[in-house]
């Protein structure tokens, strides 16, 4: 089955070009050209990935991102013309999983999309636990003391990566490679922002984390099981 990509971009030429490239790579594509129509399209089409331009008419890309994230865990990749810290961090904090800076090479974009679509179908029946949090890997379910917690696929992947090797400290670079699929060193802010998001969902007190611990100067590790 083909994966479906929803392109949200106001520039028709770029949207068309994206469609051509993505279809060439074997994806199904759908295009919406403004912000307010993005959310209905997500509901209706149930895409596997959303490509979202940050600069949109009608509705700010960041608001669109927040709206989608509020009701769906669908992976969101931002397209941004700005590499300024503030914009990128704002986008990530509003729920985007990854971002690509314009102008990008088609291969780069496709790699980012594929990384978000990676599904480990043949996962063994695995039950992990970190502190009070238990993770049912094949079922993609996380719960704390029996209460289910809703995580996006990316947050889930991040938590699983940490929980699988409880004693190991992961550097940000290693997490970027394992969770985001970056081969080369990339923006470590991705990791920081998503760790914050993950903590806000799984920790009892995000200020004093027990599940995802920071190892100063090195990276992160999972708390004791």
């Amino acid at each position: 089955m083909k994966s479906r990509v929803l392109v949200v971009d106001d520039d028709p030429a770029l949207s068309e070009m994206l469609s051509i490239v993505l279809r060439g790579e074997g994806f199904d594509t759908a295009v919406v050209s403004d912000g307010p129509r993005a959310l209905p399209a997500v509901r209706e089409l149930r895409p596997d990935v959303v490509l979202l331009d940050l600069m949109l008419p009608g509705m700010n890309g960041i608001d669109v991102c927040r709206a989608i994230r509020a009701e769906s865990g669908v992976p969101i990749v931002m397209l941004t013309a700005k590499s300024d810290t503030v914009d990128v961090v704002l986008g990530l904090e509003s729920g985007a999983d990854d971002y690509v800076i314009k102008p990008f090479k088609p291969k780069e974009l496709v790699a980012r999309i594929r990384a978000r679509l990676r599904r480990t179908d043949d996962e063994p029946a695995e039950l992990l636990s970190v502190g009070e949090v238990s993770i049912d890997v094949p079922a993609h379910q996380v719960s704390r003391s029996g209460q289910p917690i809703s995580l996006t696929p990316l947050e889930f992947d991040l938590l699983v990566a940490l929980a699988r090797k409880p004693r190991q400290v992961f550097t940000r670079e290693v997490l970027l490679e394992q969770v985001w699929g970056y081969r080369h060193a990339a923006d470590t802010r991705l990791v920081n922002v998503h760790v914050q998001r993950l903590r806000s969902k799984v920790e009892r007190d995000p200020e004093r984390p027990e599940v995802v611990l920071t190892v100063r100067g090195v990276g992160y590790k999972a708390g004791p099981p």
């Binding site: 994206l18 051509i20 490239v21 314009k102 102008p103 088609p106 291969k107």
Partner: protein, 573 residues
């Protein structure tokens, strides 16, 4: 001990000198005081002399009248006395007693010369005195002689510690003349004079003190607004552009304040305007860069689609697609650099400083251009050791080193390029040296200019944007560091990046020498120390953009001049 005292005096002098130079109020007050004191001393002296003269003159006149009265009386009394008589002394005494009583009571008070003592003496043929009444010993001899000659004589003399005016006159008798003297005490006059003197001195001092206070107050009135104006101007100069002087009344100070405020207003509006222009310009650059990105992305993807299937295209189209993709790479690099420099210009750039191993940064930068080096067949010689840590923004420093090495590869003509890392307590430095064409006189100051090219006909292997070194310079500045260039035709060029080890640290030198000392021995022996000194000097004042080293290194007759340019943080302040 004396030395210490001298030191103290010198110090006090220095302090006073400084206060004298700094305070208009002090100068005016002191000058006024000095002048007034002089005038008052002169006036006081004149006044005192005049008063003294008047007092003495009055006394003398009164004494004279009394003298004449007394003489007339004595002549009446003693007309029948024989001076040679044996008992004449008794007679004389009696006459004097009478005199004291009568003169004291008869005279009107205005003509009264006051208390007196009288002396009567006989005189013999030889001029000596045989008999006398009163204290003849108090009468000076020259006065006696004058009286002997028959005239009225006067003299001043201090008797028993009391100043006296002494009158002498002969008194005619039946026989020889008698000598008659009257001594008037001047002690009352002296007391009066003393009183006058002390009154003058005390009055003068009080007057001077009052004058000092008044001058101080008056100058304060003038100086105070000037001080206020200075304070306002200082704050204005510090960037508080809305500072204005208060305008009070209609006097000169108010006029000064008004014109100052007008000036400040016009400066402020001009600065605002310039700032707005600058902001607009930067906004524009940034917007253009952003707006270009979306169509560029489309073009880029289209080109990549064509490029991916270039094998199916005829030769001309295939080459076209290749060129399209290559040039798009350049275009993108240029756009990225433009955006970066507009961000740096706008002061929007952030220094993401963290403690970093310099070796890894240099290594990464070198790896990034490794392909370029292999293409041009250039050997990269690294002299880099591990364990040199500095608080830097690794992304920016890596970019600087990458730009420097790429630049060296561009102009190194395939000869080896050396990359050295140096460090001392406060700073770290990276030196990139090539042995290519070098820089002509004056060019070391231009290499950091945007879009500047050493030789427009020279090919650029790395396809650099022409902004690399400018961005590197801005990045170095952002760290509070220096980026400096040296070059000489035929000897190649060297670029040195010096950064403080701690964020906010001050640089006062670089651990590496910019001007190379690896030249042939004869050249080295003559210039090495000098070259070093000049490079360090150029670094120290942080100034540059001109050929700082030209004069110092021009001794190399045949080789031409060296050119050192440092572009430090202080350059554009």
């Amino acid at each position: 001990m004396f030395r210490g005292l001298g030191h103290l005096i010198a110090e006090l002098q220095a302090i006073f000198g400084a206060a004298w130079r700094r305070s208009l109020q002090l100068r005016v007050a002191v000058s006024t005081l000095a002048l007034c004191s002089g005038v008052m001393i002169v006036l006081g002296l004149l006044l005192q002399t005049e008063i003294a003269e008047r007092l003495v003159q009055g006394k003398v006149d009164a004494a004279r009248i009394q003298m004449e009265t007394a003489t007339a009386e004595l002549e009446r009394d003693l007309s029948g006395v024989n001076p040679d008589d044996e008992y004449v002394a008794g007679t004389l005494n009696k006459a004097l007693d009478r005199l004291s009583v009568t003169t004291l009571t008869d005279q009107p008070s205005t003509q009264n010369a006051g208390d007196f003592r009288a002396v009567l003496a006989t005189e013999d043929a030889r001029g000596g005195n045989q008999a006398w009444a009163g204290r003849l010993d108090t009468i000076p001899l020259d006065l006696r002689r004058a009286v002997q000659s028959g005239a009225l004589a006067v003299e001043f003399k201090t008797v028993d510690g009391v100043p006296m005016v002494i009158y002498g006159q002969p008194v005619r008798t039946a026989g020889r003349d008698l000598q008659f003297y009257l001594l008037f005490s001047l002690s009352a006059e002296q007391r009066t004079l003393g009183l006058v003197q002390s009154t003058l001195i005390v009055g003068g001092l009080v007057l001077i003190l009052l004058l000092a206070a008044v001058t101080s107050l008056v100058t304060r009135q003038v100086v105070r607004p000037v001080q206020q104006a200075a304070e306002v101007a200082e704050r204005f100069a510090d960037g508080h552009l809305e500072e204005r002087m208060p305008v009070k009344g209609d006097d000169e100070v108010a006029r000064l304040a008004e014109s100052y405020n007008e000036m400040a207003g016009s400066i402020q509006s001009q600065i605002r305007q310039l700032e707005e222009f600058g902001a607009l310009q930067r906004r524009f650059t940034s917007d253009v860069s952003h707006e270009l990105r979306t169509p560029l992305t489309t073009v880029r993807m289209a080109a990549d689609v064509l490029f991916a299937s270039r094998d199916q295209l005829p030769a001309a189209l295939r080459r076209s697609s290749e060129l399209l993709v290559e040039e798009l790479d350049r275009f993108e690099a240029l756009l990225a650099d433009l955006l970066e420099i507009s961000r740096l210009d706008a002061g929007m750039a952030e220094l993401g400083a963290e403690r970093t191993d310099m070796q890894s940064v240099v290594q990464r930068a070198v790896e990034a251009v490794r392909g370029l080096a292999e293409e041009s067949g250039t050997r990269l010689e690294l002299d880099v050791r591990a364990g040199v840590y500095a608080e830097i923004d690794p992304r920016r420093v890596e970019r600087i080193v990458r730009n420097l090495v790429a630049n060296a590869l561009d102009h190194g003509e395939g000869k080896p390029v050396q990359i050295r890392l140096g460090a001392d307590e406060d700073s770290v430095a990276v030196l990139v040296r090539d042995h290519g064409l070098g820089l002509r006189p004056g060019e070391a100051g231009l290499v950091f200019n945007r879009f500047w090219r050493a030789d427009s006909s020279r090919a650029r292997r790395s396809g650099g944007t022409g902004l690399g070194l400018s961005i590197s310079l801005e990045d170095a500045r952002l760290h509070g560091g220096w980026l400096q260039a040296w070059g000489e035709p035929g000897r190649g060029a060297a670029f040195r990046l010096t950064l403080p080890r701690k964020v906010g640290g001050e640089l006062d030198g670089s651990p590496l020498t910019l001007v190379p000392t690896d030249e042939p021995m004869d050249a080295v022996l003559v210039h090495s120390t000098e070259s070093t000194a000049v490079a360090a000097g150029a670094a120290e004042d942080g100034a540059a953009s001109s050929e700082v080293g030209q004069d110092g290194l021009a001794t190399d007759g045949a080789g031409g001049a060296d050119h050192v340019t440092s572009a430090g943080i202080g350059e554009q302040r």
